[in-house]
Symmetry: D2
Subunit: 292 residues, 4 copies
Amino acid sequence: MQLSGIIAYPVTPFHSGNGEINLAALTQSLEHLIEQDCDAIAPLGSTGESAYLSLAEWMNVAECSVKTVNKRLPVIIGISELTTSAAIVKAKYAERIGADAIMVIPVSYWKLTDSEIQAYYQAIADSTSLPIMVYNNPGTSGVDMSPELIVKMAAEIDNVCMVKESSGDIQRMHKIFSLSQGKLPFYNGCNPLALEALCAGASGWCTAAPNLLGKHPKALYQAVRCGELEKARQHFYQQLPLLHYIVAGGLPKTIKAGLSLLGIDAGIPRQPLQEASAEDKAKLGEYMAAVQ
Amino acid sequence: MQLSGIIAYPVTPFHSGNGEINLAALTQSLEHLIEQDCDAIAPLGSTGESAYLSLAEWMNVAECSVKTVNKRLPVIIGISELTTSAAIVKAKYAERIGADAIMVIPVSYWKLTDSEIQAYYQAIADSTSLPIMVYNNPGTSGVDMSPELIVKMAAEIDNVCMVKESSGDIQRMHKIFSLSQGKLPFYNGCNPLALEALCAGASGWCTAAPNLLGKHPKALYQAVRCGELEKARQHFYQQLPLLHYIVAGGLPKTIKAGLSLLGIDAGIPRQPLQEASAEDKAKLGEYMAAVQ
Amino acid sequence: MQLSGIIAYPVTPFHSGNGEINLAALTQSLEHLIEQDCDAIAPLGSTGESAYLSLAEWMNVAECSVKTVNKRLPVIIGISELTTSAAIVKAKYAERIGADAIMVIPVSYWKLTDSEIQAYYQAIADSTSLPIMVYNNPGTSGVDMSPELIVKMAAEIDNVCMVKESSGDIQRMHKIFSLSQGKLPFYNGCNPLALEALCAGASGWCTAAPNLLGKHPKALYQAVRCGELEKARQHFYQQLPLLHYIVAGGLPKTIKAGLSLLGIDAGIPRQPLQEASAEDKAKLGEYMAAVQ
Amino acid sequence: MQLSGIIAYPVTPFHSGNGEINLAALTQSLEHLIEQDCDAIAPLGSTGESAYLSLAEWMNVAECSVKTVNKRLPVIIGISELTTSAAIVKAKYAERIGADAIMVIPVSYWKLTDSEIQAYYQAIADSTSLPIMVYNNPGTSGVDMSPELIVKMAAEIDNVCMVKESSGDIQRMHKIFSLSQGKLPFYNGCNPLALEALCAGASGWCTAAPNLLGKHPKALYQAVRCGELEKARQHFYQQLPLLHYIVAGGLPKTIKAGLSLLGIDAGIPRQPLQEASAEDKAKLGEYMAAVQ
């Protein structure tokens, strides 16, 4: 498996009334992403409020996503669990329903040692034959995995074969590239770093932006691939205000608000997360309109 | 309710074989704490691996704790949940089984705004008549509540009436004291800050240390209360190496290891957390022995 | 030499017109400090804009200070220099004019290794027989000396025998105390930490506060010494708003503004530092008035 | 004046015996840089130990540099002074001797407000007609200027017209680009960020690397300019270990050590800075050899 390009992150829509999963809206939002020329779909990531769902809800969303995408694109299912055993349950389920890969982020309450993190990935890898994308996002998960640890795990654990780096530190990507002699594919998970990560050799960009920006993220990716840097910069600086805004406001909140502006009713995030304010929505509309 | 003194944190023991809750060992460890002259018992805190338990396990531990303590001391039950609805389920349960108070820490994946945090506490407070201790521990929970927010919530939400401050920043305690004109009781949750927090006006010390140090933490508390600073310093500097060690190693891991040295078999922490190494145990034994 | 109590920091007054040193105002401000029952005087510290003066100016202030104090109290002269050779020139001068000790802070442009810092202190110590107070204030100097390094230097360099800790981290003081078995005298250099530092065993409090608060800082010191913690807290929380304010605004700026409210015209700080605004002065006046 | 490309930073050589300025070695090292196809020469920057020199020494180095370069390339003279008046003295001198521009970094002991920083630049700008490059390097200077402040100063102060950004945060460059609508030229001052800064639109790269790497930095610059990203990455990842090494070790120390390996005797840095160890030199030699 060699992913490249735009890996798109759908939200998990909830019904406005009772807060339950809205599968119809999920299907709609998945079709919307597929139309944007994305290269893979990654449900149940940070944007998908993976950590806020019950196990049954998570399974529902995973299954509906795999069925909806229906092999048109690779599907990477996100797993973010505090305990090893809970993560394994999900990894097995993802394989059973026909996902193409899993993206795994260790979540911490008590800080984890490198040995604990590696054992966590090893145990999950032992439970499934799916390829595993290591997902480093210390800002949300509380776990910060060094490039050294990530490259070591990729070398020592069979199905660990990709990295999503969301720390926002480009030097981490340099280190992953250098330590693995350019062999370990890494993906940018920090939206406002998209231009530089791709220039530094990222295989792709993991992002929820196509939900709101359509094919523009893909156009940025392609401009970099073609060495058209002037054009790439134009795309990037045009998208940057929105990229900053959706990250600063929290992706579930801002992406759901933006989708509603596009006519997709994905509801609001699960409490304690609150919905975007009217001001936030107006600002978001401006930023979306500015990227024509 | 006006707590003061030593608020002791038990671990949640697991059976070595199957990893299930060990209620016999829990009872044993609760009795052990009560014997140490503590002033309150706080099960299911960070030390109690609250966040790692299933709901059924959490309920089991809560109920067993309340029954075991049996009104000999106040019991404060810890709640650390990502979603508001899950926290409410636990708050109601704590009241139903006769707990004296709850200690609530908001856990984040996506960062919470002050408004989201306050709504979280308000919703929980609306669901119970128990007194609520606000628990600020950004290092584990990913949520950092400012003194301003904490004092505001205590003023505006009826049963929010105590604060456990574990950020390790003594200036936060100054701020809580100043903003509330000394009216809002705060408790030290950072072990290596115990001496200073008590000198600065903390009503008590929330700590797992009595598990391993017996009545020594209480002696430190009392020396400060009596203005015997020379004696308080002696107690503090004697306990400090162990206090640092248990915090640095992670409380579930180190307290369980220390209890085994005292003959209480509380098992090991839940994966991905690993048990203390033989070296760690040896070191721990030395530090415990040094506090005679 | 065993200093204890309040070590007071005078400003370096400038003439309003030409910005030159105002020795008359310096003398006046030194007399003012001596009247406040301080235990030592430390000219040319951070408050004294030591780093902003020409060598000739520095010498002038040093000499005038020693003469004015005239053995009524110990005088500790501050040295903050980027190069070793410039620091040695000042150390020798301080000895020649009869200072009782020097307080030395290494200033960095390029970060210094521990080895470079120790060689810096060693070279200075070799040039003088005066006792040396190591001054750690990473926020201003850009050099952060660990407790381990400080205690090592005190053990290995003959006249290094005192520490002023201004990092604001009480754990540093714990570490100095523990590593030196309570033998190395340390002094609090972070005003809003005064209560806790003294409780933790600091020998004294290095502060510019007596310029504006008269004998109140000394009263806080004595309450702690007598174990009167309730009284100490009253003193501390009463002084705390002003202590925060003078630190946040920068000591030369705020202390000079406060002195002008007391009728001592010490001028304004040297550019690029600007004088306190009218609003700042008004606020400062309020805080000073609140400490009666 | 519109600089682009490689702006090269010479060291300030000292005689091994007495530590005095070695003008012959300075001339030799300037010629060495000019041969490397650099686009401008910037004496007396951080690499040039500007902050460690006496005024007379600084003047000597400035004058010798301008004369040696002799209009073959633009010469940008570095100024890093704690006081406004000292910076003005140097700015006037740079103009008098025929420098093409000055690069000014405000150095702090007491933190500066934005208003103080702007007044500092304004006062210097008023004293000279030379173009001014704002130099932001919080790690060495202790002053961190926000993109907002920098763009504001460029808009409001006539001869402020370029920015060297050395914070290492690519988002700062995005912000400068966005706030100035791409009009304010910015230059990368963080060596391990060279690839990304140039991709993001930096006009050039301010670096001491050509001292040790010859024409390789220029080749990286040109590959980016031509949109040859694969080639640019090859250049960058090849140079990266050395770029990290010289930054981590401190530029004066490592560049002087590397020059000695190339047969240029620039002496060692001024104390308290120490010379590179034998091990460091060996490692440096390996990194230099790896970039053929």
